[in-house]
Symmetry: C2
Subunit: 434 residues, 2 copies
């Protein structure tokens, strides 16, 4: 049995993890696949640094084209990241009939349609388990074990950096900046961690999950996106008083033929299974119409977990190649032609409950004035906490609402904000799993 040959483009964290697992577990993998998987070429601009993996120097090249052009290579793993050169290399590899594995969530979220179509046009496979949830096999589960279901909801903690920061703020009462600094020092965050904390990374991943669940690309620009940088320890304490935790959630929900798609901090009950996903862990909660609630949990990043996911895709493709098959699974796990895109509901049509923290003058009648204006916009309160007294006479008035329409919330706040009874902008956090 001839071996299956792999070319890796990008020998950074993920590339090194992938090479490491393929080498260290070579025997286990050979037993599972039925033949050897050989790393034939690794391209990276840096061919000298020690990655702690025993790779022959002759395998390394600075020229990614060498990987694409090598006729012996069956599978190209694009692990360099970015949306420029990576896109070109993937398309070139597909044109030469090579199967492609990628961990590149930004590329798939931004150029997915082009890449999915190229894979189908060239009759090659595209696998991207590592693009969402690190080592968690969520894409395989949506493609396979959940495939009989209409997906009704996805709620994911998809960014380990944000989750680490929020966990520290919750457990230690740290302010945001301090928790960020600690995350950077511990290697859980880039410096600065912009795309992690502003919701962009989670939105990329949500776009991919939506595409697989509903069988069409999702327009990234239509996914509502808010970050965690405005969350204060005070909000975390108030959440706790309401029996809730604050998490950065990526949410997709199927409603009347359209899909809600949004990434933002959300308050969830402390006994919700996602509330106890802490530190750098990721988790994806999926509801299907038959399977009911499911949860998938694991490390969402890092050399070894991500290497595990990339290698599992390589194993999957090697099993196909060994048996002379291909295209068992279309990129989005739907056999029909791609629809233009998933119909994403405009954000102002969202209905959910809200947490408002008003900074108000400590004066009689303030709460009644606030709740009066909210009421005029069909927003009714389910809980109120009003206590403490600030030195400058401003106090927090904290409320939870019953379900309300996002558009009404925006309008009500636009009326409230200019009033002289409010001293600072109002903090708004959506409430899930009420």
């Amino acid at each position: 049995m001839k071996p299956v040959n792999v070319g890796i483009i990008g020998f950074g964290t993920v590339g090194a993890g992938t090479a490491e697992v393929l080498l260290q577990n070579r025997e286990i993998i050979r037993n599972r696949v039925g033949t050897d998987i050989v790393i034939r070429r690794i391209a990276d601009l840096d061919v000298t640094s020690d990655r702690g993996v025993a790779i022959e120097p002759s395998v390394l090249t600075r020229d990614a084209e060498e990987v694409i052009r090598d006729p012996e290579i069956h599978i190209v793993a694009e692990l360099m990241g970015g949306t420029g050169r990576a896109r070109e290399l993937i398309l070139a590899a597909m044109e030469r009939g090579k199967h492609v594995v990628t961990a590149n969530k930004a590329l798939l979220a931004e150029h997915g349609k082009e890449i999915y179509e190229a894979a189908e046009r060239h009759g090659v496979d595209l696998a991207f388990e590592a693009s969402v949830g690190g080592g968690i096999p969520i894409i395989g589960s949506l493609r396979g074990g959940l495939s009989a279901n209409r997906v009704t909801a996805i709620m994911g903690i998809l960014n380990g950096t944000s989750n680490y920061i929020l966990t520290r703020m919750t457990e230690k009462g740290q302010p945001y900046d301090q928790a960020v600094q600690e995350a950077i020092e511990l290697g859980y965050a880039d410096d600065p961690p912009t795309l992690d904390v502003d919701g962009t990374d989670a939105a990329h991943k949500l776009a991919i999950l939506i595409s697989i669940s509903f069988g069409a690309p999702a327009a990234l620009g239509r996914i509502h996106r808010e970050g965690i940088d405005r969350i204060t320890p005070e909000d975390i304490r108030f959440a706790n008083e309401f029996g809730r935790r604050i998490k950065l959630l990526a949410i997709a929900r199927h409603r009347n033929g359209r899909v809600e798609a949004r990434v933002h901090p959300a308050m969830i009950p402390t006994d919700h299974i996602l509330a106890n996903v802490n530190g750098p862990y990721n988790a994806i909660y999926v509801e299907g119409d038959f399977v009911g609630p499911n949860l998938y949990y694991g490390l969402g990043a890092g050399r070894r977990p991500t290497g595990s996911a990339v290698a599992s895709d390589i194993i999957y493709l090697a099993r196909e190649i060994r048996q002379g098959m291909k295209n068992f699974m279309p990129p989005l796990a739907h056999a029909r032609p791609l629809e233009t895109e998933v119909d994403i509901q405009p954000m102002d049509e969202l209905r959910c409950s809200y947490y408002f923290r008003f900074s108000a003058l400590d004066r009689p009648g303030v709460l009644s004035r606030i709740s009066g204006i909210l009421g005029e916009h069909d927003i009714s309160l389910s809980s109120v906490i009003q206590k403490g007294r600030d030195v400058n006479g401003s106090v927090p008035v904290v409320t939870l609402t019953h379900e309300a329409l996002e558009r009404d919330v925006v309008r009500a706040l636009a009326r409230l904000e200019p009033l002289d009874i409010l001293t600072h902008p109002t903090m708004v956090i959506r409430v899930e799993g009420a």
Copy 2:
């Protein structure tokens, strides 16, 4: 494109759930597979009861052989259960070249080797996602997304009935018998629930998980098995004092080339992710050498979740058939020939921590006598709770140990039990995640 034809044997809870999801989500499934999946025949001794599924009467038959003999049927779903007739029918279907889907964990645990070999011999596929964890795609994950890993540990809550009973005992302080009665009344347990509460059902499922993880059948008789019927509310309260919960766990752990395999009540820390899996839910915690800790959570039983899993297997096979492929995945997801069986470590070689609740005379020196004898067997204590006073002068002496050898524990208890300072048999519960 010609449809893929399915024959279902057994129109009980699982059969009806399977038919329901295939019919209700027909359009979604057609989009995913690329062709229709048609239920061509359903065999059951009862062809008259209404299962709430719109099946033409002509599809129903009392003769399972009709399903096997129908040359138009590509996939046979064996959903009748049991290890007698079900085994014969599966083997007969395979002999006629039909792919087989089953939810039958007892059959696979007891006769897996014969059935896996028959599938390979006849060149047909065997899929059994529904046999473990209901709708949770754990088998697909072990076969696919985790396939690059050496599985180092599995800890599962695999029996929803036991978990429901223990949850009620924990949350309401109910005694075992009362919780069982309630579970029966609510339909979470059979009457009597023997195979659920004595660990047999969980052991069947563990045998299947071990087989896939390690690529060989596991001898069911070598899996240590204890039930939950001896657990008292008192033990649950003491567990709580130690910051722990009691769960019925199915555990497999890879140690020096052998595999620990055991089902028993275990105390786990309250902040362990499995400690918060409550009610009828199942969860499987898997550790891989690269992926690290992973968790899979969902409903472990019931018409709709189990139907979801069976239908996902049918979809998988239909995708193969549509593309003229077969045998993409061998039954145990290992391409090499089956080894005789997984090498399971004898139970007396287990090393773990233990909870002992001694019922002792309330006399000075008792604890020192007990701990002395334990010490002679290399068992040292990490915590002791000694309080309360029984009306008849017997008091609980509750201890946690450091890691000890099971064989030493058995010997020490054999020496302690006859002593007149102990008034009742000692409760022993293993401690995990210390």
